[in-house]
């Protein structure tokens, strides 16, 4: 099953709006919380109260600083989890078949019962989306909350990934990117969604939306029409008369 499906009916994935993400890490701990008690082995932490606390997270938020040619530097908060690539190299390298891409919806998963913890899939993933759990010795990755999105024990409204449900700004959206009429596909079309590291040919399903243009310094002069009531010219009382004359 290590070969990739030639075609998936749906391409379920996330669209992350870099214009909106404030870097709050809510999606990080919501993901940890759900997956700690959900799909497969819990996400362990090593030395949780010790000198070098370190654990498994399926979604992490980086912060980048970008300095334009002109204008002040900008900060972009950058959440990253598995992009559920169409051409997922993590799947094809897997020797056990534990890594696979679901043919029905394109979700890339690890079958923990088959994983030997060789780490090769993590090496093959350009995005750092796979983390080997140090307690279980098993490869963990974003499941796109496959145990939520179809879960009949959850109310309809909750059948979305935990990270999307919790994101306070609404910077994360979940949907079918194969369906051009879906809200996610539309936002990708409108806002020019882009692939991460397109040069590697992984064809990520998850898309990122570019931050809007910042610090725009164009002309805007709605103050000048009224400047004929310049106080310097008329004194305060003249200014006041003219101003109140408008009432």
């Amino acid at each position: 099953m290590t070969s990739l499906p030639t075609h998936t009916e749906k391409k379920l994935g996330l669209v992350i709006d870099l214009d909106i993400c404030v870097g709050c890490h809510a999606c990080v701990t919501a993901c940890k919380g759900w997956n700690d008690q959900g799909y497969g082995a819990p996400l362990s932490d090593q030395k949780p109260y010790g000198d070098e606390p370190e654990g498994t997270f399926l979604n992490r938020v980086h912060s980048f600083e970008i300095t334009p040619e002109n204008g002040p530097a900008q900060i972009v908060h950058f959440p990253k989890s598995c992009l559920h690539c169409d051409d997922a190299p993590c799947v094809t390298v897997c020797p056990t078949g534990a890594s696979y891409k679901r043919s029905e919806d394109g979700i890339v998963l690890v079958n923990e019962d088959a994983c030997i913890g060789c780490g090769l899939c993590a090496w093959a993933c350009p995005y750092g989306a796979r983390e080997m759990d140090q307690a279980a010795g098993i490869m963990k990755k974003c499941t796109l909350c496959v145990d939520r999105i179809y879960n009949e024990n959850l109310p309809e409204a909750d059948r979305e990934p935990a990270c999307v449900r919790t994101c306070p700004t609404g910077a994360r959206a979940f949907g079918d990117l194969a369906d051009p009429t879906s809200a996610v596909s539309k936002s990708v079309a409108d806002r020019g969604g882009f692939d991460l590291m397109p040069e590697l040919g992984t064809k990520p399903v998850n898309q990122y939306l570019f931050p809007r243009i910042k610090d725009f310094e164009g002309d805007l002069d709605v103050l000048s029409p009224l400047l004929d009531i310049q106080p310097e010219a008329t004194g305060i009382s003249g200014w006041l008369d003219k101003l109140l004359g408008k009432l």
């Binding site: 938020v61 980086h62 993933c125 995005y127 750092g128 040069e199």
Partner: protein, 291 residues
């Protein structure tokens, strides 16, 4: 990449072991009886030892057998098959040689092919990874194979001859380093393509996602100082190629000289492999501001 001892042991020892098996299979030397026994023991010990070392790298070795399932797509799976087939075929061949003084050349040649294919498959585990540009080049399998051949030639005591593969290895090592140094930039992956934010300006990491470390950082991001790496390259060249070659050329041929040369070579090979990992940069480092 993290130069984990288990993978270094695995690739170096199994490379040498399968190389030797290959040479034995090819009949470069055709020992029998006790001598054959010691040759095969050495070859099997290195090959199997390397393979065993590789399992130390597994988080969940209980499932190891499943690793044979994906030979159609996975180089690791192929390597597993090839290794086992090689060991099986060469095992039969060895039995013939040791106990019956017979060299079943059909088996031998098949085994030799499998041996070198195994080494090739091992190398392809690394060479296939676009995410590690330094490895992702044709020189990688060549280098693995030439190391394998060098070890095999030295061990089969082809003294003068061994200098040739050693020289090739030296050249390949240098080429692999030099071209490897350029691979990352040539791959086109930058922090700008990684983030897609290059359109705004120059991108740098302001803060990593967590102040603590994580599996990815430990596994994929290993930083060796440039100076340190350069010094190690010289040492590697000296140990893996120059010294063994000089010993083989200048010292009188004997088991002892061969052993000495081989041990030096092996240490050099470990150093080379250490560098092979330590110097290799994974593109994920871009997200962590490393590179």
């Amino acid at each position: 990449m993290n130069p984990a001892p288990s993978v270094i042991l695995f690739t170096v020892l199994s490379g040498a072991g399968f190389g030797l098996l290959g040479f034995l299979g090819l009949g470069v030397i055709s020992p029998t009886g006790l001598i054959a026994f010691s040759y095969f023991t050495l070859a099997f010990a290195m090959a199997v030892g390397g393979l065993l070392a590789s399992t130390l790298h597994l988080g969940n070795p209980r499932n190891a057998l499943k690793a044979f399932s994906q030979w159609q797509t996975s180089w690791l799976s192929r390597e597993a098959w090839l290794a086992v087939l090689t060991l099986a075929v060469m095992g039969l061949y060895a039995i013939g040689a040791i106990f019956f003084g017979k060299h079943l050349s059909v088996l031998g040649i098949l085994g030799a092919d499998l041996s070198f294919l195994t080494v090739f498959a091992t190398s392809m585990i690394y060479a296939q990874l676009k995410t590690v540009p330094r490895w992702n080049q044709w020189l990688t399998p060549l280098l693995f194979l030439s190391f394998s051949l060098s070890a095999a030639t030295m061990l089969t005591a082809q003294n003068g001859l061994a200098v040739a593969p050693l020289a090739v290895t030296g050249v390949l090592l240098i080429l692999h380093w030099l071209s490897g140094d350029k691979r990352f930039s040539a791959s086109g992956s930058t922090i700008e393509t990684a983030t897609g934010l290059g359109g705004i300006g120059k991108v740098r990491l302001l803060a990593p996602p967590h102040t603590g470390s994580n599996y990815l950082m430990k596994e994929m991001i290993y930083v060796v100082g440039r100076k340190h790496a350069l010094r190690l390259r010289w040492i590697t060249l000296a140990l893996a190629v120059v010294l063994p070659a000089l010993i083989l050329l200048l010292a009188p041929a004997s088991v002892l000289t061969t052993a000495l040369a081989f041990i030096l070579h092996l240490i050099g090979a470990f150093a080379a492999r250490w560098l092979f990992f330590a110097e290799a940069e994974h593109v994920v480092g871009l997200y962590y501001g490393k590179r």
